[in-house]
Homo-oligomer: 197 residues x 10
């Protein structure tokens, strides 16, 4: 069932920043505490080739998001140690050196599981071992959540593994929602800030 119109789950997750600090982020509380919107984007795995382009694209637009009172947070199921290794790998070597927003390290899948965005969606009971077995790597699709200052989700979008995201579209969605917040007007199709609603 969609999270849109509901509060984002109230869960703390390990995170890593470019300084190598390990800390915890509760996205819901982050939004409310800072009175900011949050853009949370998930990518499948560290050290792959398509993912860094997305991480760099969000980094490039970071200033624009800040103008819109929006924090950017990346997320995958890798550990904080792996995030740090990747943050220390040069862009030319497929790394993400230069990324300054925090990265969730949801290695225990607590949050990804709640969101229902893991690729290992079917589990079968293995009688021999008495355990449930997953099919797939148990990593996430390219899911994006836009959350307002109250912690309410106002957009969720999920792309299949090979399809990258469009950073501008998320800015348009934030602008539209901010317009509604301010003017109480509904934004029609293809609405953009500055165009007439």
């Amino acid at each position: 069932m969609t999270l849109v119109g509901k509060k984002f789950p109230n869960v703390a997750v390990n995170a890593m920043n470019e300084m190598g600090d390990t800390f915890q982020i509760n996205v819901l509380e982050e939004a409310k505490k800072n009175n900011k919107k949050v853009l949370l984007f998930w990518y499948p795995k560290d050290f792959t080739f398509v993912c860094p382009t997305e991480l760099h694209a969000f980094q490039a637009a970071l200033e624009e998001f800040e103008k819109r009172n929006t924090m950017v947070i990346g997320a995958s199921c890798d550990t904080a140690e792996v995030h740090f290794a990747w943050l220390n790998t040069k862009k030319d070597d497929g790394g993400i050196e230069g990324v300054t927003y925090p990265l969730l390290a949801d290695s225990n899948r607590n949050l990804a599981n709640i969101l229902g965005i893991l690729d290992a969606q079917t589990e079968t009971f293995n009688e021999e071992t008495g355990t449930y077995m997953l099919e797939g790597d148990n990593v996430t699709y390219r899911a994006t959540y836009l959350i307002d200052e109250e912690g309410t989700v106002f957009h969720e979008g999920i792309n299949h593994m090979p399809v990258g995201r469009n950073v501008n579209e998320f800015m348009r969605l934030i602008d539209a929602y901010a317009h509604v917040q301010k003017n109480g007007e509904v934004c029609p199709a293809n609405w953009e800030e500055g165009k007439q609603a």
Copy 2:
């Protein structure tokens, strides 16, 4: 749990077209039978003011979607009779005269329920009546599904009620996925057809 990476639900739903014909559409089979992609978009209610702009915007882009081998289908939980009345209402009177793609009339909510996109998400048991009571109008959010020729969902995006959609972004996503289908290459962030992947 996300539908991305899975087949679209195999369910037939009542529909209405601009000729006033009532018929049934099974989105999954429509895609496979015609070997086409499908863009399915949901809007909350007929005879509201923001919704017609989206319906007109999809109509305006219909040729572009056809070039991309993509059928467009609209959907709400109103009845076929109400769709027909709206189709016969002039644009200036808030109607959707001129729309030629079919509209699902999911008045029994069979499909919207499977997709989990109804706003009436909480139900409480009413002891006096012995029935479950819904909060909300039980209409859908602005949900959009992109489905490929095999019926597999490659994008789902859900906007909160007051936030309209961007028709161009769906074309970009279709192009990116078509590129992957053709070239087996992953599309990075902000990728657009013609730009270098």
Copy 3:
């Protein structure tokens, strides 16, 4: 099990009036608060051809019902927006312009479900989707309820879809019941006000 002899369900439902106001009506409380009888009639769908004649017939008899201390309320499962569009459609165009009594917009079927008057009476479990599927449009039959000033139902009558109602018969039933209320006498068959009981 029949509602006759029991209180009408204590449930609030969205409603629309000819002014375009959206508000909520709790039929049981309406009767008790105003110390009036209520005639509540359900029709299947807005924007069909047989239904408007019934709505106009009740409108024509409205004064007579008022003389009998009886409120008239119409009801279907369409949304308030659709009701308003229909109220603004001229009679000659199949509309119900001129109707002044309120219309319940039970789009979440909370009340229709309690009354058991929806046509989608069978549901089957769909294993593939893990949801229950309804057969039928999930709209109501032509059901009529007569409710006294205490909220007790003293008549319920349900017609199959294509059979219209007789407004005079409901007046006769109200008169007979009022006679019992006043005189404590039982009304025999074919009894009418003014004829000897």
Copy 4:
């Protein structure tokens, strides 16, 4: 849940006619076997004062119902023996001498229970006796069913105990339904045979 639009229950019940014969009637099969409509009316108890007027009124209209290819059947929860005693009691003594249509003797309440028209609607578990106790006499309300030649119910109407029925209204309903059967047209409000539909 309403029986309208469904087949009448397939159940045989004891019955008595004016000849003193005891036999069984299955209303559903009666309709189908004779290719007739059936009007089945329930009254609370034999040997009361309001009930005979209804039984006499249906007797008086019997020819009219026959013209409309409609069988009339009365019903209560008294035994066949009691029906026979009442049939042998003169009208002036509160009896129903002269009634020629059959009377169901549903003393085991098999059919009344299925129809949900018994007044003893609440039962409470008596711990001392280990049985369920009913409140009320466990007799029926004034319920009427109109059933077509296929056994499908096209009207059900239930009056509270003290409110008698209007025989003409049932004729109007039968005419309206017959009109639909013949012409495939829907009958609007207040429609009557001979008036323009």
Copy 5:
């Protein structure tokens, strides 16, 4: 399991007397309140031919029972209205005019059900209707209960439908029990009052 040696069930039942009064009798409390024994006898149906002879026989012996401090109560599952009609029918017409002891009108079978003396002993679940169906008329066998001043049952006897009862035998049983009450002696076989115990 037999009621002998236990208290009679503590249940109130509708009753009718020869004056046409409707009231309630709780047999257990009747015995205790009046400090009397009770003979309660059940017969299958009003307006049959064998039953009136039993009712007349108990009437004829009423004085003898009163001498023995014993109330007589008759009972069937007919309604109070039917009892009254029968009480007003002359003996020569198969009626019970002249009976002065009260008659239970257990039309909801609350008491007969507790005693387990209904002929409709098997019920089968009808899947089509979702209800339990009884075989038989759901009327009682010829059961007789002798209850002492404390409400304890000291004899129960049940005859098959066609076998009438012997009023004298119940007097003998009452005498024997009274003898035990008075003398603390056990009464041997064929004991009769006046003969040596």
Copy 6:
């Protein structure tokens, strides 16, 4: 629930006769095999003082029962050995010497349990011992069953411990039932063979 109108339970029980033979009797099969009626009477215990008078009374009437094609069987929960000791005790010493009909020795209570005639009717769970504890001696009341040639029970009567039975009444009941079997007539109250039915 009464056994009247049902087959007697199909169970074999140990028995003893006056020759000291131990054998098994299945009352149902005994009736059917011999095409005879059966009078089965239960008494509480061997070696008490009231019981022998009943046993002697049935012995005295044995020839009369045989004339009515009726077998007499006595029964208690004592063992066959105790029955034999009692059969060998002189009448003057409180014994039953001279009794020639068989006596059931239902020491495992299989049959008495089915009939529900044991005085130990309540059992309580003893937590300390983990077993169910009975209150009372677990012996039977004075229960009598009249069974026809098909094994159907047509009378059951149960007296409290201290109240002896009337042998003549059972003959009257057998005569009445035989009259019904032969003439198909119902026997009214106080009916006796030779008197007009």
Copy 7:
């Protein structure tokens, strides 16, 4: 599971003594209240031939048991009345005249059931009667319990039906246990009082 090392069950049972008095014995409390050991022995049935020899043997050794501070209690599942009849039967006639210790009359099997010494060990559910049926007479094996002054069982021995008991062996066991109680020494095999432990 063995009772050895546990308290004897805390249950009162009917009993009879040679005076013809009926009273209740709770073996556990008897031991504790009197600060005595108890030898409790069970035999299958009164009025058999092997059982009296055991009863006479325990009677003959009664003085020896009393010297050892030990009460003797016999027990079977016969009633107190049967015990009394047997106590009044001369030894030469197979009786137990002269026995002075009390006999438990466990006719409701409360205690024998807890001890698990009944021969009717298997029960099968009889679907026709809806009851559990026992195989066997439901009488006890030859079980013997030695219980100390605290109520703790220190020996249990059970012989098959046809094998009699050895009174001396129980004296030896009592002596050995008393030796342990006094000296805290364990008694080796074949130990006897006076022989060196």
Copy 8:
């Protein structure tokens, strides 16, 4: 529930003999295969002081048991290795050197558990560990079983820990049972071979 009158459990258990051989014994099959009686005796633990005296006593009587066609088997819950060490310990050192009958090594308690003779009779669930905890050493009481050539148990006797057994008594019981087998006579109390039964 006692094993007397039933077959001994059909279970194989590890065993050790004085040669140091490890093998398996199924007591039931041993009796039947060899057409011999079996005396099986259990003692609590190897290497205690009272136990060896019992083991030596059974060894001393072995020839007498063989005359009676009876095998002797000892048993404890120690391992075969411990049995062997004890068999190799001199009698003066508390050992059982010289014992030639086999010893069951029921270290997994399979058989002792079935017999219900372990001292660790209560188990409590330990929430912390999620396991059941036993109180006591989980070793056996001094239980003795006499089994006939068919495998049926004809005596079971259980002594509390500190009370040794009497070898002669078991011989008497075997003689008595053999007498019954041969003569079909029941053996009275204190019966001994050669004395008159």
Copy 9:
């Protein structure tokens, strides 16, 4: 699930020392109370040939363990009596004379069961006996636990039956863990005290 990182189970077990004293050891409390580490090692059975070499090896290293603030405790499922017998058997005779650390006598398997180190891992339900039967001797593998001063397990190692342990390796593990405790440094592979971490 591994115990590493968790507290050792909080359970008291019987134990024996070389003085022949029987007492109880709760390993968890022993560690905490004495503020010592514990090395607990399990071996399969007393009086086997491979086991004593392990017991002697731990004895030989006892001083080294004491230097490391570590108590040594041995354990098997034999009884304390058997441990004592083995402690009194000379080394040349396969005994463990000279061992001074305590030995757990887990004869009721309470602790071994919690640890999951018993060889009798499968149990099957035996329908005949109504009990669960184990396969195997129900003795332990060669399991070793290293527990710190807080009672937390920091190593568990389990060898198959025939593979002996290496005492030095446990010293290395203790040293490594102590190094971590002192320096907060992680110990790399093959780390040994004195070598550079």
Copy 10:
């Protein structure tokens, strides 16, 4: 419950080698197919500092393990992509360049879950999200398994996070087990190849 003495779980897991190939390894089948022993070692996370020393140590001993017919396999819960990145990181930079044995990438934790070696051992149900939440990173302890050519586990050892392993000890255990395989002899404590068993 320990895996020692059982087959290793029959499960395939993703793996990466130094060539960058992704493939699947089923450890059980690997052992049997190649008729080799397997040493499988788990470490918590890639890109930490203590882990690489263990990986290098096993690499250094690879030839010794091969001499002993033993394959070495490393394992963590990181993805194959992360393994590859680490394999391409120089030793001086904390990488594992030069490692040639395969590394399991158990990112869906299928195998680690079966083995019970994950640190996230407790899960709590989160009512708000309706999911189970893990405490800890859900990575593995330092667990090592030695598996023979049949796939049977003959050693399992688990170290707490900060305690590194001793490569030599695993060689000793393999030698000891091989000795038993060859000679059928049990290896005593501290046994080493070449020393006398």
